[in-house]
């Protein structure tokens, strides 16, 4: 990345791999389990979190010297809540169906541990530009896992990707379904998201032994 210094690009790239908020820090699991049954929902969720986290990080970073440390949590909550409501309203206005699928989980971005975690751990101690990059990076790391889980769950659970019937039509019996293939209903249930997530963590740690903690 020519635009960014080495340190800055590390801020974005680290959370994608070896410091991933979901698979390494194990934060933000609830939404990863709940809304990943469809790829589209996963992508929208990832983008929403990215918007909230990047903007929130910048706001907190700008205010970091004037927030009294005793009431910093409530200040952070106000910032997230405001941003989440904006995102929620935009979703409702432009994509009502999708916002119904995501239901309370857009609202629950407020309590997403990744966001509070980044505010506390990064934005309170760094400048706005770095905080912005950190927000983008962590949200991208979160989104990456969501998209991977969503990809497998939608493909194997519904036989579609972003709504396109990539494996054929289960009712008309075309494509794979003509051979007797059937969708895996278990993939649509939340426990399977946990198992897919577990497998991702398993693969990641067996490829990089340094990540295994005792």
């Amino acid at each position: 990345m020519g635009l960014l210094s080495k340190k800055d690009s590390k801020l974005i790239l680290d959370p994608l791999t070896d410091n991933n908020p979901i698979t390494i820090q194990v934060l933000g699991i609830c939404s990863a389990l709940a809304i990943t049954a469809q790829l589209k929902a996963s992508i929208v969720m990832a983008l929403s979190v990215m918007a909230v986290l990047a903007v929130g990080n910048v706001v907190i970073s700008l205010m970091r010297n004037i927030i009294p440390s005793k009431i910093r949590i409530i200040t952070q909550l106000v910032v997230v809540a405001a941003l989440v409501i904006i995102v929620d309203q935009i979703l409702k206005a432009f994509s009502y169906e999708l916002s119904k699928t995501l239901s309370v989980f857009v609202g629950l971005i407020i309590t997403n541990c990744i966001i509070m975690g980044r505010f506390e751990a990064f934005a309170l101690a760094n400048g706005p530009w770095k905080s912005f990059l950190d927000g983008i990076g962590n949200a991208a790391g979160y989104g990456l896992i969501l998209v991977i889980v969503g990809f497998f769950r939608e493909l194997l659970g519904s036989g579609t990707l972003l709504g396109f019937k990539v494996l054929g039509d289960p009712i008309e019996k075309t494509g794979l379904y003509a051979l007797g293939y059937e969708n895996n209903g278990f993939m649509l249930l939340s426990p399977m998201a946990l198992i897919v997530l577990g497998i991702i963590i398993w693969i990641q740690r067996s490829r990089n032994k340094a990540l295994i903690e005792d």
Partner: protein
């Protein structure tokens, strides 16, 4: 050169390489290794892991063979080629070669897929992890075909076996380390992933699914179907089978679970050879009877009337719960799995009791999951270590108290 020396040579050739565990396993499975000790004092025990597993498989074989006859019998009965059995367990309508062959050709592929895929995964993991191949799959591989419906597609079984062995067992560290019973993990996976193939009135009779498809395509055939007893009870229908049919096993159901008589024989064999725990079997039956009696009392006290959707299952006499569905099979062959059950003797009583108790509870209150025993055993598998913990702590406390009294 014989197969034995061939295998031995291969083993020597690949010693220390990646493939070594695979050849070792094949060699020791088929033959005694060349390098056994011949003299000196050794501790001798006849029941190593392989022998334990083989004993369980022997106990299950009657159920497997009965399952083959029953598959053909249910098919021919549904088609209308033969009459229902009339003269007890040895009825001539049942034990015919025709019945057997229908079941044989349907069930042998299930056994082959179960063993082939399962052992394949075990070999793969042994090679990756560089340890010896463990025998843990021998019993699971035989259990799996016995607890699935006859018409389950083979590819579904293969996927479920991969899932069950990897997620149910290998991630915990392989044989002996698993928390959940692998065979039941496989069945639970099938149940939640492909519910239409694990319940309803089509999958339990050989050929019913295909026939429904043919009729939809315009073939001139009579549709055949067969609902399990639990399935029809859950829908509030009456029981269509006599008690002797249920006890002997002339009923639709998963392949090996129907004959309570043969399961009891297998159970006695396991108890006699000291492989299966009689405590778990007995306490499970007690648990089921307790829950069944409670439900019967609730009905006779008039709290639940015929208008309730639970009425049919609740008013089923408590002892009938023991001979319908997979209860007997689960309790004898799966609750007693020494790895996933409680280890302490007192713990076994609690563990078994709750399996029986919860099985009947799930059966009655959740018509969507008629086979409560699968979920009950999986649930108690999770709690088995907790039960053991409290039993051991209780024992320690008691002994400390005794010590205090003495020293005081």
């Amino acid at each position: 050169m014989s197969l034995k020396s061939n295998l031995h040579n291969l083993k020597e050739k690949y010693k220390g390489t990646k493939m070594a565990p695979a050849f070792n396993a094949l060699h020791t499975f088929l033959y005694t290794p060349n390098d056994t000790t011949h003299n000196g004092t050794h501790i001798k025990a006849a029941d190593d892991l392989k022998r334990t597993m083989n004993t369980v498989i022997m106990a299950m074989l009657p159920c497997l063979i009965f399952g083959m006859f029953n598959a053909g019998y249910q098919h021919n009965l549904a088609v209308g080629d033969i009459q229902a059995v009339t003269s007890g367990f040895f009825s001539s309508e049942f034990w015919t070669l025709d019945n057997f062959m229908i079941g044989f050709w349907k069930i042998i592929p299930l056994v082959i897929v179960s063993y082939g895929v399962g052992l394949g995964v075990e070999f793969l993991f042994a090679i990756i992890k560089k340890h010896e191949v463990e025998e843990g799959y021998l019993v699971t591989g035989m259990l799996v075909p016995l607890i699935v419906p006859i018409d389950i597609p083979l590819w579904m079984l293969a996927i479920a076996v991969i899932f069950g062995v990897v997620i149910g067992k290998e991630v915990f560290g392989g044989t002996g380390m698993n928390i959940l019973n692998p065979a039941l993990t496989i069945r639970a996976f099938l149940f939640f992933a492909y519910p239409t193939w694990m319940s309803g009135d089509k999958v339990w009779v050989e050929g019913a699914v295909q026939r429904t498809k043919d009729i939809a395509a315009g073939a001139n055939l009579d549709a055949i179907s067969g609902e399990t007893i639990l399935g029809s009870l859950a829908q509030g229908k009456d029981m269509a089978y006599s008690v002797s049919d249920m006890f002997f096993g002339f009923i639709p159901g998963s392949i090996g679970e129907t004959s309570t008589l043969l399961i009891i024989l297998g159970g006695l064999f396991l108890i006699f050879t000291k492989i299966g725990s009689w405590r778990i079997m007995l306490s499970s039956v007690l648990g089921a009877i307790t829950m069944g009696l409670i439900f019967n009392q609730v009905v006779s006290a008039g709290i639940i009337t015929e208008s309730s959707k639970f009425y049919t299952l609740m008013s089923t006499p408590f002892w009938q719960h023991l001979i319908i569905g997979g209860f007997a099979f689960g309790v004898v062959f799966m609750a007693t799995d020494p790895v996933t059950a409680s280890q302490t003797n007192i713990g076994k009583w609690y563990y078994g009791f709750f399996i029986g108790f919860i099985s009947i509870l799930i059966r009655v209150f959740n018509p969507a999951y008629p086979e409560g025993v699968m979920l009950a055993i999986l649930l108690m598998n999770v709690f088995a270590p907790t039960i053991d913990h409290y039993v051991i702590q209780g024992n320690i406390k008691q002994r400390l108290k005794r010590l205090k009294v003495k020293t005081a």
